[in-house]
């Protein structure tokens, strides 16, 4: 295993080891997702069969995922700054490996939230998905974009004051294109339509955010 991959893997393993002992992000994300899900489900009821459902419910699903992510992912770098462990990391970790290790941790958190939220949401609102494969692909590609953009913005705000507000203000404009494409693709998955060009556009969004993150991260992380 190359040393770069070993570094990223060490950061990923360290973050999960700390997380499993403190359960900070898991509890925050999980409770937020579940609470929102229950409220939405009780408010809307089993409306999956109504004509409006395929248009509205995909947007509701992605709003739940977005707010669950923004509740937990800023901690990725903020915790390192607040507990002063960032100094030791700056002196030891290769910036790109650090970013990828943190991104991998964020990705697994998002994946866990998607795995918890999506099936429950579909069951509670009784929404039928005609193309489950497209839904899984959309959740995977959209989740990756959500995690990458959140990790990048978490780096930006880590050393600032008013982190939570700044995180939301900076993150939402970056995520608007992703959310529009992800909602459109989820609608297509529900209706059983072919993915078309939207899937490629979502992949291009992910690629752009990844390249931008890897280019910007070293300058943002180091003085």
């Amino acid at each position: 295993m190359s040393t770069w991959i070993a570094e990223a893997a060490a950061i990923f393993a360290k973050d999960w080891r700390s997380e499993l002992r403190t359960r900070f992000a898991l509890n925050t994300l999980g409770l937020f997702a579940l609470t929102t899900l229950v409220v939405v489900s009780f408010a809307l009821g089993p409306i999956g069969a109504s004509p409006l459902a395929p248009a509205v419910l995909p947007a509701v699903l992605w709003i739940i995922l977005l707010f669950a992510a923004t509740a937990g992912l800023p901690r990725l770098f903020v915790a390192e700054e607040e507990t002063h462990t960032a100094t030791a990391l700056r002196l030891t970790a290769t910036p790109s490996a650090l970013f990828c290790g943190k991104l991998a941790f964020g990705l697994t958190l998002i994946a866990a939230i998607e795995l918890l939220t999506t099936p429950l949401f579909l069951i509670l609102v009784q929404l039928r998905v005609d193309s489950p494969g497209l839904l899984v692909a959309t959740l995977a590609i959209g989740g990756y974009g959500l995690a990458t953009a959140s990790t990048l913005v978490a780096t930006m705000v880590a050393q600032a004051r008013g982190k939570a507000t700044l995180f939301a203000v900076l993150l939402f404009p970056v995520l608007v294109p992703l959310l529009i494409m992800a909602v459109a693709l989820t609608r297509q998955a529900v209706a059983g339509e072919a993915a078309g060009v939207a899937l490629t556009e979502l992949l291009l969004y992910d690629a752009s955010v990844t390249v931008a993150s890897l280019m910007l991260f070293p300058a943002m992380w180091n003085p």
């Binding site: 040393t3 070993a6 360290k14 080891r17 462990t85 100094t87 030791a88 990391l89 002196l91 003085p223």
Partner: protein, 205 residues
């Protein structure tokens, strides 16, 4: 004549925080086997100087040169070559002392077995969470972290604070070993009785 294995030289360092000028034209130099002692009152800029030397803070003006075997080390690489020990250095509180050091050993590409050996050397338990360490034990862990990768340059900011007599003894042994392989810059409010102090930067002047 062969160049010294390691040479650290800084000249005309300036650093401001807003309107406050913390460093104003600070210069110094040390080579392998030597200690450069930095003294000054609280707030005189000792920690800022060490953070600049470590590459954690960019000076507003001035030069910092680290050379190994006569070859200059790139500014971006400097942070990976130094050992840094400072009061604000913290560890992952949910992880044990051994898990913390092993994690950084993997990042430093050092044999993880050295982590356990260093903990034994300074008398720290392997299985105590970093968040449950006393201030003296935390200082011992900082020493382990700083010399984990056998750095050529040790930047030590108040390295003996909170240590009891046995802790001070082992810290001085580690400092002696550091001077066998490289140099050390030691910052302290008062003048310490240290071996091989070759130069002195007094930030109160």
């Amino acid at each position: 004549m062969n160049p010294p294995p390691t040479r650290l030289r800084f000249a005309g360092l300036h650093r401001r925080f807003g309107k406050l000028a913390v460093l104003a034209g600070v210069s110094g130099e040390a080579v392998s086997g030597q200690v450069l002692l930095v003294t000054g009152a609280n707030g005189s800029g000792k920690s800022t100087l060490l953070r600049c030397l470590a590459g954690l803070l960019a000076p507003d003006a001035g030069e910092i040169e680290l050379a190994e075997e006569g070859r200059p080390v790139a500014a971006g690489e400097r942070r990976f070559r130094v050992g840094y020990l400072a009061p604000d250095l913290a560890f992952y509180e949910a992880l044990t002392t051994l898990e913390n050091l092993r994690f950084f050993a993997r990042l430093r590409r050092v044999d993880p077995a050295r982590a356990a050996a260093l903990l034994d050397r300074v008398g720290l338990p392997h299985d105590r969470a970093a968040g449950a360490l006393s201030s003296g034990m935390l200082q011992r862990l900082r020493w382990c972290w700083a010399v984990l990768h056998r750095p050529a340059v040790l930047l030590a900011d108040e390295p003996f604070q909170n240590l009891d007599d046995p802790g001070c003894r082992v810290a001085r042994e580690l400092l002696d070993e550091q001077l066998e392989r490289g140099l050390a810059v030691v910052a302290n409010p008062a003048h310490l009785q240290l071996p091989r102090v070759a130069s002195h930067v007094d930030l109160d002047r």
